[in-house]
Symmetry: C2
Subunit: 418 residues, 2 copies
Amino acid sequence: MNTKTLMAALLLIAAVAVDAHARELVVSEQARALQARAINLDTHLDTPALFGQPGWKITDRHSYAADGSQIDYPRMVEGGLDGGFWVVYTGQGPLDAMGKLKARDFGLKRLGQIREMVAANPDKFALATVAGDAARIKAEGRKSVYISMENAYPLSHDPSLLSYYYKAGLRMLSLVHGSHNDFADSSGIAEATAGEHGGLSEKGRQLIIEANRLGIIVDHSHASPEVFDQMIALSKAPIILSHSGAYDVYAHPRNLDDKRLKVLAAHGGVIQVNSLGNYLVDTGGTPEYRAELGKLYRSFGGRGEMSAQERKQAMAQIEALNTKYKIRKATFDDYLRHLLHILEVAGWQHVGLGADWDGGGGVVGYEDITALPKVVQALLDAGYNEQQITAVLGGNTLRLIEQVQALADPAAVKAALE
Amino acid sequence: MNTKTLMAALLLIAAVAVDAHARELVVSEQARALQARAINLDTHLDTPALFGQPGWKITDRHSYAADGSQIDYPRMVEGGLDGGFWVVYTGQGPLDAMGKLKARDFGLKRLGQIREMVAANPDKFALATVAGDAARIKAEGRKSVYISMENAYPLSHDPSLLSYYYKAGLRMLSLVHGSHNDFADSSGIAEATAGEHGGLSEKGRQLIIEANRLGIIVDHSHASPEVFDQMIALSKAPIILSHSGAYDVYAHPRNLDDKRLKVLAAHGGVIQVNSLGNYLVDTGGTPEYRAELGKLYRSFGGRGEMSAQERKQAMAQIEALNTKYKIRKATFDDYLRHLLHILEVAGWQHVGLGADWDGGGGVVGYEDITALPKVVQALLDAGYNEQQITAVLGGNTLRLIEQVQALADPAAVKAALE
C-alpha cells in the first residue's frame, strides 16, 4: 500500500464518519456565539453579477429554490456573514481588439455596480480596503465590501487601468478564468484553448509585479498548476486561492495538490475552500456530459450577464442535463471533506472560506449563506478551537490583506491614491 | 459712428434700462407657474466637484455665503431647477504619459461619484440619457442627472474609453478647458500655452466624429474661435456651447461673437448663457491682476479637487486679490445683458441656461440656483412668451439631445450599450 493508496483509504474512512455526523448536524449556541465574536468573510462573492438585474435588490430576501441566488443582506444576517470580497467577474471572450475593449467596459461597469450598491445602502454596507475596516464595519452593524477581480480580461486592453481599479477599491486580483488568456494559462479543460504560455505570460508576470507594488492580493484560483508555481516564485507577497479545493481529495484540475498546499502555506498564503460540486466529487460526468455542459455554458454568453429569467432557464437546462447523465450531486459532507483535508495539510493558519456563492458554489445541505453556521459547528465537532476557527472564518484573510499591503511600495500606493 | 460704436452705445442704453428694472425685480406668480410647467435644465453643473468632499451631502441645504456652493437638492427645489448636465470636469494638467494616466483615473472616479450620488438618492435623483427622461423624472418628483464631460483630458491617454463613458451615461463632451491640449486649442489667455493646432488636432477631429457616431453632444465652451468654426464644419450634428457668453457684449475670448452666434443657430445649435463674472464685464483687471489670478488658480491644484476648507480659503484669496486690484463685481443685470443680447442675435430657439454653478458662475443678485426664477421674470418682462421662455429654460436643450441622438449611428450605439 503506497502513500497515495493509504491516504485514499483514510479519506474514505473519514468521509464515512463525516457523512454520518453531518446528516444530524445541529448548530449549537456555542457555534453561533463563536461566529458572532469572529469576523466572517467569504473571499469570492459572485453576487455582483445580479446587481444589474432589473428589480433585483440586495436588501430583499430571496431563496435559492426560487431564483438560485445565494447571497443577499437578510440571508447574510441570518448566516452571520460579515462581508467578503465582491467580485468583478468577466467570462473569457475573444482576445481580439474588440473583445478586449468590450471586456474593459464590462469590468468598469461591474466595478461601478459594486460601488453603487454600497452607495445605495450606506446603513447596511461599507467599502473596505484595509484589514482593520472589517472589524470597524462589523461594529457599526454593517457588512464589508472588499472588491476583487476574477479574470484580468478587463485589463487586457490596457493593464495600466489597474491604477484606477486600485483607487476604486480593488484589493485582490486573479489573472484567468475558464480558458487561457494573454496573462496566464487556465486550469480549465472543456473550455480550454491550446496552452499558450506554460504558465504565466510576460504580461501576466508584469501584472503580478504591479499588484505586489500596490498591495493587491494575487489570486491563483482557476489558473493552471504551472501558474501556481510561477506565482509563488515571482510574488514577493503571499498569495491567495480565493475559491479552490483539494486535488488529493478529488483530482480535478481546479484543485490544488497537497504538495502545493504545503508550498502555499510555507509562502504565507491562504486557500479558501470552494463549494462548487463539480470540483468536489466525481459526479460521474462523462466526456460527452462535459462537452454538452461546456456548450451550454458558452450558450449563456461570454460576460456573465443574465436576467433573472435567463438564470432560471439556465439552471433548469443544467438540471435537465444532470438528470440525463445521472450526475451525482455533491453534498455538505463532500465540502467538509475538502475543508478538513486542507486544514490538515496546509494548517489552520492558511485556510478560509470562498464558497463561490452566486458563481456556481453551493451543494446539497449547503445551498446558500444561511448555512454558514453549519461549517462552524462542523469545525467545532472536528476538534478545532475558537482561535483556529476564527482564523478560518476570516482571520487568515485579514492577516493576508495586512501582509500584502505591508509589502507594497508606499510610493506606488501614494501615487495611485492621489 | 461705425457699427461697433453704435452697438456699444445701444448696449449702454439697454444696460441702464435693465439695471433700473432688475434692481426692483419681484418674481410673479405667473413666472413661478410657468416655471412649474416647464422643464428647467442647466447644462453645466460643476457640483460633482463637491461630491468627494468628506461630509458634503447634496441633500443638505448649504449657502453660498457660508461655503460658496450654489447647488444642492433643497436649493434646486426652491429655485425650480429640474436637473441638467452634471459635469466630469478635469483641470488641464501635464500632457505627458503620467499626466494623462492621472487624468484618466480622475475622470473615471468623478464619473463614478456622479453615478454613486444618484444611487444614494434614488427618491430625489435619476440618471437621464434621452430627451424624454427629463419629463418623466420631473413627473416622478425627482431631478434629472444627465452626464457631461468638460475637458477631454481624461480621454487623452486612450480615447477609446469614450465607449465606457457612453455606457455609463455620458451624453455631452467638451474637448478642452483653460489651456490647449492634444484635442483642441483653448480660448484661455492667462493660462494658455502656445497655440498648437490652429483649432482642432487630428485627435480632436476623431473624437468629434466618434461623439457624433454615439449621439454625444459636442460642446464648444472654453475652446478657441477657430475650434468653433472647425466644429461647425465637421460635426454632422448641431453643437452646444454649454456655458458661454456674448463677445459683442463683452469682448472676452471665452465668449462667442454675433457672427458665430448666427452660424451656431443656422447649424441648429444652442448656446447656454454663462454667469461667470469675469466673462460678463470688464472687471478692470489689469494684466498684473490676471497674472496673479492665474498663479492663484494654478496653486489650487490641477484637477479640481478641493476640501471645504481649501475652497473657503481659495474664495478668500480670490476676494483679497479682487479687493487689492479694485475689481468690479458683475451683477445679475450684467448677466441679463448677455442673455437678452444672445436671444436677440441667435433667436429664442437657440438659447438656454448654463450658469456654471459651482464652477465659478454666479454674480451679485444671482448667487445660487434659488435665484433662477428671477431669470424667468426678467424674460417675461422683456416680452418673451411662455413658449419662448420654456424653450430657453430647457426645451432647446431637450430638442438638441434628441436631434443629436437621432443623427447617431444606430450600430455604434447598439455596440456601445451591449
